[in-house]
């Protein structure tokens, strides 16, 4: 069952263009990760596929059959929302049975499938509870069980882990991988704003921005070869620092200040203005020299410290292992190792990416 | 989505309502151009005579003016008192649930029947109110036969009957308010008054507007209390348009003229209420309804 989108566009009065000429072929048995900022069109794309958002132009087909004339309830698309949507008046078991009975399964069959699905998400002990009597994570598992048990050909998950706590997210991410891989001939599309999630689920990644798919590839491809500064920003967490530079006389100069010898891979580029990008964990604190700046913000997350530095060339984010005692307002010198730099045109297109990670 | 489904939901109700209302409305419009009355029934055509007579009918216009201030006054009092008791019944008093039930009761009673009871309270020789006044050594008041007191009596009855409606809507609104803004105000150390002025009242604005509009709509129809207690009197001192029209069309049987008055009344009511609704919508725009 191949799901094909051809030149799909949606414009609304309120939000302007929300899907901009999207064409893509989703193949069965694969997991596609949609990644992009909050308003990049991920949700709209899913709603268009499900039939919840009417498309203005273009075509959506399933195995060559036009979806346009099929109302939502005949499309057989399973959706998991970021809000935990279950039927509040039905018990866990009834929630999961509902779509199965709608599909025409016999009562006994429906019960059997529902029970299997509920057990798979580990809620076997909560069959008679109402959703409101469950925790957020459990509610999301019910929603998941409901969608999984349907064996739909298309499964859409819209930031399903968004509203859950950190620990549960980690746990569900791992489970998702197994669950999705078991869905042999379904197209699974999973939207997220979080790069780690995209990388962990390790499927094919579609980067969305302003209603368009701006890059498509394997996680390593997208991570190591972001085709533009936009992709680089979206796919890096913490965000990649992007600074304007100029190349001249064998040197690369950041803004108007600090310069360093040009890395070997960039030697062939003609002199002029460019942008460089560097990931937070590649930046090091300079022992001498380097770009000077003032610390504007310090965030400790887990076992890492994120330091935001205002430099003459622009804001730079660096990540240090461990907890460090750095204070806002202090000055700091940083070094941007040449072999870790991405070089982009001023319009954002990628020129050179560093050698693959793993040093 | 196919058009059939949306229509399935809306049309039955809409068509039923139109079916019920369309004939009376068209008939009313047509009959105003006839001279249907006791001696002449049927739809003849006499042009705009009724409309001309209406323009000169000072009793009608003064009843409209009276309705205007009577409805605004009573709804304003209902709103202030209803909000006050809603705040008390919301939190901070013992036996809250008892008071909630008690304060809802007047709304449940039949206005036309309670008006009879009120008449027996206000009636001058054997009524409860003058009885109480005489016991504390005050002179009796002509509640139903003197213009000023009669209007006060009508106002009291309207306030008694309908403040509970305001109370119910506003209390339900208060109970559904989110808790966070109040916590924030408490953390900031805001006084009770400041919390009310900066948090409670603004958050209640949309629901207040809804409640006031509904009450104004119903107050524009004030009839039961006036008709039962004073019959519009003394003279015409308490007469509302509904009472006057009732007399002209259903007692004097001047159907054509009564309908003319009624139609004008309807047009004015819709116009006024629409304007008020728009003003309210604009006033509350920044917060959004």
């Amino acid at each position: 069952m191949t799901l094909t989108l051809k030149n799909v566009s949606v414009t609304t009065e309120k939000d302007g263009v929300i899907l901009d000429n999207i064409s893509f072929e989703f193949k069965p048995g694969r997991i596609y990760i949609l990644i992009g900022r909050t308003t990049s069109g991920k949700t709209s794309l899913m709603r268009a596929i499900a039939g919840l958002l009417p498309i203005d132009s273009g075509q959506i087909t399933m195995n060559g059959e036009d979806f346009e004339d099929k109302p939502i309830w005949e499309r057989d698309v399973a959706v998991v929302y970021q809000q935990f949507i279950n039927y509040p008046n039905k018990s866990v078991l009834q929630n999961v049975e509902f779509p199965l009975l709608r599909k025409g399964l016999k009562k006994s069959e429906a019960r059997e499938v529902a029970l299997a699905s509920i057990n798979k998400v580990g809620l076997g002990d909560y069959l008679d509870r109402k959703p409101a009597q469950l925790s957020g994570g459990q509610q999301q598992r019910v929603a998941l069980a409901r969608s999984l048990s349907r064996q739909s050909h298309i499964m859409l998950l819209d930031e399903p882990l968004m509203n859950l706590d950190y620990k549960l997210r980690e746990q569900l991410r791992v489970e998702f991988k197994e669950i999705f891989n078991a869905q042999k001939d379904a197209v699974t599309i999973y939207a997220t704003t979080e790069p780690p999630e995209a990388l962990i689920l390790g499927a094919e990644i579609l980067v969305m921005h302003e209603g368009r798919i701006i890059q498509y590839g394997s996680p390593t491809e997208v991570y190591e070869q972001p085709q533009s500064t936009t992709v680089a920003r979206v796919i890096s967490d913490p965000p990649m620092s992007i600074l304007p530079v100029s190349i001249s006389a064998g040197e690369i100069r950041f803004g108007d200040g600090y310069s360093q010898p040009i890395p070997a891979k960039m030697k062939n580029f003609k002199e002029g203005h460019y942008q460089v990008g560097i990931r937070a964990n590649d930046i090091v604190i300079a022992k001498s020299g380097g770009e000077k700046g003032t610390i504007s913000l310090v965030e400790v997350s887990g076992s890492e410290t994120l330091v935001y530095v205002d430099t003459p060339a622009g804001e730079v984010v660096l990540q240090m292992e461990g907890i460090h005692d750095v204070k806002v307002g202090e000055s700091i010198s940083i070094e941007l190792p040449g072999n870790r730099l991405f070089l982009f045109e001023t319009n954002g297109a990628l020129c050179v990416s560093p050698d693959s990670a793993g040093e | 989505m196919k058009k059939g489904y949306p229509r399935f939901f809306l049309l039955p109700g809409l068509l039923l309502l139109i079916a019920i209302i369309i004939f009376p409305l068209l008939f009313t419009i047509r009959v105003t151009f006839s001279s249907w009355n006791v001696s002449q029934s049927g739809l003849n055509f006499i042009g705009g005579e009724n409309w001309g007579e209406m323009v000169r009918d000072t009793r009608y216009w003064s009843s409209l003016l009276r309705l205007f201030y009577l409805s605004f006054l009573t709804v304003a009092i209902q709103y202030v008192l209803g909000f006050a008791i809603a705040l008390f019944a919301w939190k901070g008093i013992a036996a809250r649930r008892f008071y909630r039930v008690l304060w809802l009761i007047p709304m449940m009673t039949t206005p036309s029947l309670m008006a009879i009871i009120w008449r027996s309270i206000f009636t001058e020789d054997i009524g409860a109110l003058n009885g109480l006044l005489s016991r504390v050594g005050l002179d009796p008041v002509n509640w139903l036969t003197e213009s000023g007191p009669a209007n006060i009596a009508i106002t009291v009855v309207e306030v008694w009957q309908w403040t509970p409606f305001m109370f119910l809507i506003l209390l339900a609104g208060l109970l559904s308010l989110p808790k966070e803004p109040f916590m924030a105000a408490a953390i900031d150390g805001a006084s009770a008054w400041k919390t009310f002025a900066r948090v409670t009242f603004p958050m209640m604005a949309p629901i207040s507007i809804g409640a006031i509009m509904i009450r104004l709509i119903d107050a524009s129809k004030i009839f039961d209390s006036v008709f039962t207690m004073t019959r519009g009197g003394p003279g015409n001192a308490t007469e509302t348009p509904a009472a006057y029209i009732f007399q002209r069309s259903l007692q004097d049987f001047q159907i054509a003229y009564g309908s003319t008055l009624a139609l004008m009344y309807l047009i004015l009511a819709i116009l006024t209420l629409t304007i008020i609704g728009k003003v309210f919508a604009r006033l509350s725009k920044p917060r959004g309804i």
Partner: protein, 278 residues
């Protein structure tokens, strides 16, 4: 200081609320002499309670009037008009909450205004044409005729309350139902309706209150067969019936609805009304 003011206010308001009702109840137990010779208040001290008023309205040898048939009529008419208004009104409200309707320049807001504006219609405007219409349809002095007419006043309340109620229910629930194989009608009946009990209860209570308490239409559109309770009492009033009988019949006819105050309070205190009037 504030506390004293508050307590005073609450006391005065409660006394004000209670006074007419207490007056009605005490008057209903007064003998003639306790009424016509000036106001009396305290039973046993100022007058000997008597059942004369109640005997006049309840079946028995001293019965002046029969209020039981009117009571039954009131039940039928109120229940009928409430049911029709709830069914058609909530369907329309759901449609207006979930779909966009357009006809020329008119939008959903205008349609909602059309519904609500029916409440602006003063009954006195409609009384005569309704009379003629029902006469033509042979529905004068029938339950159905009165039910239909009352529906025009009650459906607007249902639409007004239920549009807001449905707006407050997450759209994702109906979307989910549709994604899982329900067409919009099935989605409404299988997933939204079961969630709408609080809203429907509140709307239904308003319908019952306004339907039961209607006097104008019942007065003009029914004669003898479908006399409703308030009309029957008003009819007593018209024949210069003594106050003790009027008081007894008034108390008799408001009792059924006063019970509703308890129902509403329970809903309020459980927080179910909140979402229903937003």
């Amino acid at each position: 200081m504030y506390k004293v003011l508050k307590a005073t206010f609450i006391t005065i308001w409660s006394l004000f609320v209670l006074f007419p009702i207490m007056w009605a109840i005490t008057t209903s137990f007064k003998p003639e002499s306790a009424v016509v010779n000036g106001a009396t208040f305290i039973p046993f001290l100022e007058y000997q309670p008597s059942l004369i008023g109640w005997k006049a309205i309840l079946p028995g040898p001293d019965s002046l009037t029969n209020l039981l048939t009117p009571t039954l009529n009131s039940f039928i008419v109120t229940a009928g008009a409430t049911a029709i208004s709830l069914i058609f009104g909530s369907l329309a409200a759901y449609g207006l909450s979930r779909f966009t309707y357009g006809w020329k320049n008119y939008s959903n807001a205008d349609i909602i205004f059309f519904f609500v504006s029916q409440r602006i219609m003063p009954p006195v405007v409609l009384a005569i044409p309704f009379f003629l219409l029902l006469k033509e349809l042979k529905l004068l002095d029938t339950h159905l005729g009165l039910i239909l007419v009352l529906t025009s006043g009650l459906m607007p309340i249902v639409v007004w309350l239920m549009v807001d109620f449905f707006n407050a229910l997450p759209r994702e629930i109906d979307e989910m139902a549709m994604l899982e194989g329900c067409n919009p009608i099935q989605a409404f009946f299988r997933t939204i309706l079961p969630l709408s009990k609080p809203g429907l209860t509140v709307a239904g209570m308003f319908c019952v209150i306004f339907g039961w308490n209607d006097i104008f239409f019942a007065l003009t559109l029914t004669a003898t067969k479908v006399l409703t309770l308030p009309v029957a009492v008003i009819a007593l009033n018209g024949t210069v019936t003594p106050y003790w009988i009027l008081a007894a019949s008034t108390v008799f006819s408001i009792i059924p609805l006063v019970g509703l105050a308890f129902v509403i309070e329970r809903f309020l205190s459980r927080g179910n009304l909140g979402g229903a009037v937003r």
